[in-house]
């Protein structure tokens, strides 16, 4: 359920949070006992999970590098989570030290943590906002102060849209975001799908009901719709490890086991 923008977000530390569970999968300790309990249960059912998350995070790093190589220096990371290692700004600033990054998440703890970590960096900003309300996000003073919306930028929605159920109209939200982007901007997207391991999807979705952000797995065709108005760059929408791998030989082993699709599109 959406809350009106003036109502305070709740901080409920008795429920696991997608951001902190994800941190645990990646080997971080930015998590609480509830998060770990849920993660361990999930791994028990599906031992591949940590590898899948690593694969997702690795895709993000490769994609940031790729768009940076295309000359992009502005990044909007929506659903940024808890900055463990290998954050967008690190990868981006490695390519171009002037790169600017705005991190957005709706999890207040993730946002507070990001603020603490990034406090001093003028080229980054952290916003607590919900991607289902793109208007509020794009009007946020921190965003307009950090990014020049007249210039192309890269919007990252990596492993976040599967937390937006159909009834909240994720396509509508993505469309509104697209409308705000200058031509030549990029959309970097990854998303869980039941297509790779249909037998695992059900129980996994079940576990995420405990969080404030239950999961919606989507088919490849549904995901293609998110790229309406974008042109998918090579290799298109593919299993996570197959998107421009560092080592093509290593990537080819059962990539569907990651059950996540990844793609990068360029706004026409």
């Amino acid at each position: 359920m959406e809350r009106p923008s003036w109502a305070p977000a709740e901080v409920d530390l008795t429920r696991p949070s997608a951001a902190r569970v994800y941190d645990f999968y990646l080997g971080g300790s930015h998590n609480l006992e509830v998060d770990r309990r849920m993660a361990r249960e999930a791994i028990e059912l599906w031992p591949d999970l940590p590898a899948i998350m690593q694969s997702n995070r690795a895709f993000m790093r490769r994609a940031v590098r790729y768009v940076a190589e295309q000359g992009i220096t502005q990044f909007l990371d929506i659903g940024s989570g808890i900055p463990t290692v290998g954050n967008v700004h690190e990868a981006a600033q490695q390519a171009d030290p002037r790169a600017r990054v705005v991190y957005v998440d709706n999890d207040p703890v993730a946002v507070a943590h990001s603020r603490a970590i990034l406090g001093g960096d003028e080229r980054t900003a952290v916003i607590q906002a919900d991607l289902r309300q793109p208007e509020a996000l794009f009007e946020h003073p921190s965003l307009t102060a950090t990014l020049d919306l007249d210039q192309p930028l890269a919007v990252l929605m990596v492993a976040v849209l599967h937390f937006v159920p159909d009834e909240d109209d994720p396509n509508g939200a993505v469309e509104k975001i697209r409308a705000r982007l200058a031509g030549g901007s990029y959309l970097v997207l990854s998303h869980a799908s039941a297509e790779g391991r249909p037998e695992k999807a059900g129980s996994h979705r079940q576990l995420y009901r405990r969080t404030a952000t239950p999961m919606t797995m989507r088919s490849r065709t549904e995901l293609e719709n998110f790229f309406d108005g974008f042109e998918l760059v090579e290799p298109g929408l593919v299993w996570l490890p197959l998107w421009r791998p560092d080592d093509p030989a290593a990537a080819e082993q059962q990539p569907e086991r990651t059950t996540g699709y990844a793609g990068v599109g360029r706004k026409r």
Partner: protein, 750 residues
């Protein structure tokens, strides 16, 4: 955030041969493969290998440098793994697996060199020991860095959680303040209570609305806001809400203000639930709808008042009258002056409606000021009719005095624009004890009396006289009671035999309608048929008689194509009804009677100057096979020729013929000759002739000698109810006498 991708410090004493470094490269690859995927490391595999090459070089260097501290380097290597985010315990076990499976020689560090560059005295065993020491230190360094890192991250995340909570608390505070501002500033009254009905908080608007001080509210419970006028439903809804069976309700309810006044409000009560969905509080939104109700009353007023004059309208007046009768004590009297303006229509027609309206308004004002605060009420019933009601009157004298006052105020000259107009009124006056009259009767009496006043010359009052009313009432009430009498089956049909003169056999029966009036007893058609014709109820009445008579005739005669018939009278008005033919057809088919067995009697006057419709109707009936007779013939001989053009079967001679005939002696008087020629003329026209009012055998004999066919009258039998003549004495031999009886005679209507 520290970047784990910083290169570790360049190796210090890396002077080994290229071949040795090749070993380092190989080992780094094995090591990288072993730890790959144990946790997320933001580096491509190649860079991981580079990182590990660096670490191996440092390890190799310290092995070769006897003065170097292997433990320090080992710990740094362990920490470097953590820095690169090899944070999983499995990263360590895999690392140890790889390193312990090797010996120092593999990376070209079999024994440390002394300061001169020679291999030391320790020999391979010494080198082995130092390698183990180094690897153990890697484990220690890894663990302590991991612990360090985990603790730091825990601290970070807890701090972030605390920070987020604080932020949320502040935002909650802000939002609470915002809510507070809404609560305080709202113009609608808001109250919050718990489920026990204790009032926890109310806003200033509610304090203003009900006038209780805030503390007083807090002392009270919701139940104490019950109002004497509350309908039971209010508190039923409330209980349902408290029980969690409904989430809200809305209604209009009165509240008692602190000062005792009542105020009408629109009340919405909602149940507030907690996150688990359990009911926790109740929220009441209350706003003052006094003005709204005032508006509604205004609309209602308009519905009850005449929009032109603002006086009560008919509906309102009737309600007042009913209320007066319903609530008055026994013995109370009431009076009514019913007036209208003389010649008002002419005013409207000559001076226009606007002037007419203006006149009505002026009259209304004058009547209003006349009654003043005397406790009388004035209403406009419509058009130019007004009434003044006097509740609790003392007698006619009082009412007559009032009527004179009314005549006087109306008669005062009126200025309508530039014109002086003189109008007068007529007034009907009634004054009665409430016990002996109903509201409707009172109004009707006044109306009737007004009519008398007018009829007697206008511009005057008339007092109701019960006797004068009684006569007119009979007419009035009979005709208005007729439709109900029809429904209640108070209308009966009696039958009188028509017999052939030659042998006294049954020619037919005449159906005669009777009204069994609850008060007046049995009434003959002469008492009400004309009234029924005037009011129009004759159509329904005629249809009823037709149906009953046909059914009765079928019961007696069955279906035959000849033989006795039933003869039914048609009133003139019925003949003008287009539905007549269909009504007849219906009566026949419903009863099963043949058309030849039905005769319709019409009066001479009904067919004189017959309009084309009547002609067509008669023709249609004749075509159907129904017999047609002229009733009460004898007032206009001249018309016999005219009757020739009508499809008639029978002529019924009026009883006056026989009454005017002289006794036995004067057989060949002119009257008799006239009658004789009439009968032969009728025969010439192929009509059977029947005489009405036959009372004596002598009359029968005379009629026979004149060639008359049949007779009807007390001599042959009076009209009787059908029960009394369940079988005509000679009916039984009808079948025998009349060979044309049909096989389906018994198959009447079901």
């Amino acid at each position: 955030m520290r970047s784990p991708e910083e290169e570790p410090p360049a190796s210090t004493g890396g002077t080994g041969a290229a071949g040795d470094d090749g070993e380092v490269q190989r080992l780094a690859m094995v090591w990288a493969g072993a730890v790959a995927g144990t946790s997320y490391v933001p580096l491509p595999q190649g860079e991981v290998e580079q990182l590990l090459v660096g670490l191996l070089r440092r390890m190799k260097a310290v092995l070769l440098d006897a003065s170097g501290c292997a433990r320090t380097v080992g710990m740094e290597v362990g920490a470097a793994l953590i820095d690169a985010h090899f944070t999983n315990p499995r990263s360590l076990s895999r690392t140890l697996d790889v390193l312990l499976g090797e010996c120092p020689a593999t990376i070209g560090a079999s024994s440390p060199m002394d300061a001169d560059g020679n291999h030391g005295a320790g020999g391979p065993r010494m080198a082995e020991r130092r390698w183990k020491e180094l690897v153990a230190a890697v484990a220690e360094g890894f663990s302590s860095a991991l612990q360090e890192r985990a603790l730091r991250e825990q601290e970070d995340i807890l701090a972030a959680a605390a920070q987020a909570r604080e932020q949320a608390r502040q935002e909650l505070h802000v939002s609470e303040e915002r809510f507070r501002a809404v609560f305080e500033g709202a113009t609608i009254g808001i109250g919050i209570g718990d489920l026990d009905g204790r009032i926890l908080d109310v806003n200033p608007a509610l304090v203003r609305l009900l006038g209780y001080p805030l503390e007083e509210f807090r002392r009270r419970s919701v139940n104490e806001f019950m109002h004497p006028a509350d309908v039971e439903r209010v508190w039923q809804l409330y209980d349902e809400l408290i029980r969690g069976e409904r989430d809200h309700f809305q209604l209009e309810k009165q509240f008692q203000r602190f000062n005792g006044e009542s105020v009408w409000t629109n009340l919405t009560v909602s149940l507030l639930r907690d996150r688990e969905g359990l009911p926790r509080y109740q929220l009441a939104l209350i706003h003052d709808v006094t003005a709204l109700r005032e508006l509604r009353r205004q609309l209602e007023f308009e519905a009850h008042h005449d929009s032109l004059t603002g006086l009560a309208n008919r509906k309102m007046f009737l309600t007042q009258l009913d209320d007066l009768f319903a609530t008055a004590a026994a013995g109370t009297r009431a009076g009514l002056c019913f007036l209208d303006l003389d010649g008002f229509k002419a005013v409207n027609d000559t001076l226009g409606h606007e002037v007419g309206d203006h006149l009505l308004v002026m009259v209304a004002r004058r009547l209003e000021s006349l009654v003043g605060d005397r406790g009388l009420s004035v209403a406009r019933l419509g058009g130019d009719e007004f009434v003044v009601l006097v509740p609790g009157s003392s007698g006619s004298t009082e009412l007559i005095a009032l009527a004179e006052e009314i005549l006087a105020v109306v008669a005062r000259p009126l200025r309508l624009g530039s014109r002086q107009v003189l109008v007068t009124a007529s007034v009907g006056v009634v004054e009665r004890s409430i016990a002996e009259i109903t509201p409707a009767e009172l109004l009707r009496a006044a109306d009737m009396t007004l009519y008398w006043a007018k009829a007697d010359g206008k511009s005057q009052w008339a007092l109701f006289e019960p006797e004068r009313d009684a006569q007119e009432l009979t007419r009035y009430s009979l005709s208005s009671a007729l439709p109900a009498a029809l429904v209640r089956q108070d209308l009966l049909v009696h039958y009188q035999p028509l017999r052939r003169l030659v042998d006294g056999s049954l020619h037919g029966v005449e159906a005669l309608v009777r009204w069994n009036h609850p008060r007046l007893g049995l009434l003959g058609p002469e008492n009400f048929i004309t009234l029924a014709e005037q009011s129009g109820s004759i159509v329904a009445l005629g249809r009823h008689v037709l149906q009953v008579a046909c059914r009765q005739a079928f019961a007696w005669f069955g279906a035959r194509s000849s033989g006795p018939f039933v003869s039914v009278n048609l009133a003139t008005r019925q003949l003008r009804e287009e539905s007549l033919v269909e009504d007849v057809r219906q009566a026949l088919s419903n009863s099963g009677l043949r058309p030849q067995q039905l005769q319709l009697e019409i009066t001479e006057s009904a067919v004189i100057g017959t309009d084309p419709l009547t002609g067509r109707t008669l023709q249609a009936l004749a075509d159907m096979g129904v017999r047609l007779a002229i009733d009460d013939f004898g007032t206009g001989y001249s018309n016999l020729i005219y009757l020739r053009r009508l499809p008639l079967d029978e002529l019924k001679l009026d009883g006056t013929f026989l009454r005017e005939l002289p006794g036995e002696g004067g057989v060949d008087s002119l009257d008799v000759q006239l009658l004789a020629s009439l009968i032969s003329l009728a025969h010439l026209l192929n009509l059977t002739v029947i005489a009405e009012g036959v009372e004596t055998q002598a009359q029968v004999d005379l009629l026979l000698s004149l060639g008359c066919d049949a007779g009807q009258g007390t001599f042959f039998g009076a009209a009787r109810p059908p029960e009394g003549i369940s079988a005509f004495d000679d009916l039984d031999d009808l079948d025998a006498a009349d060979g044309s009886a049909e096989a389906d005679a018994g198959t009447g209507p079901s």
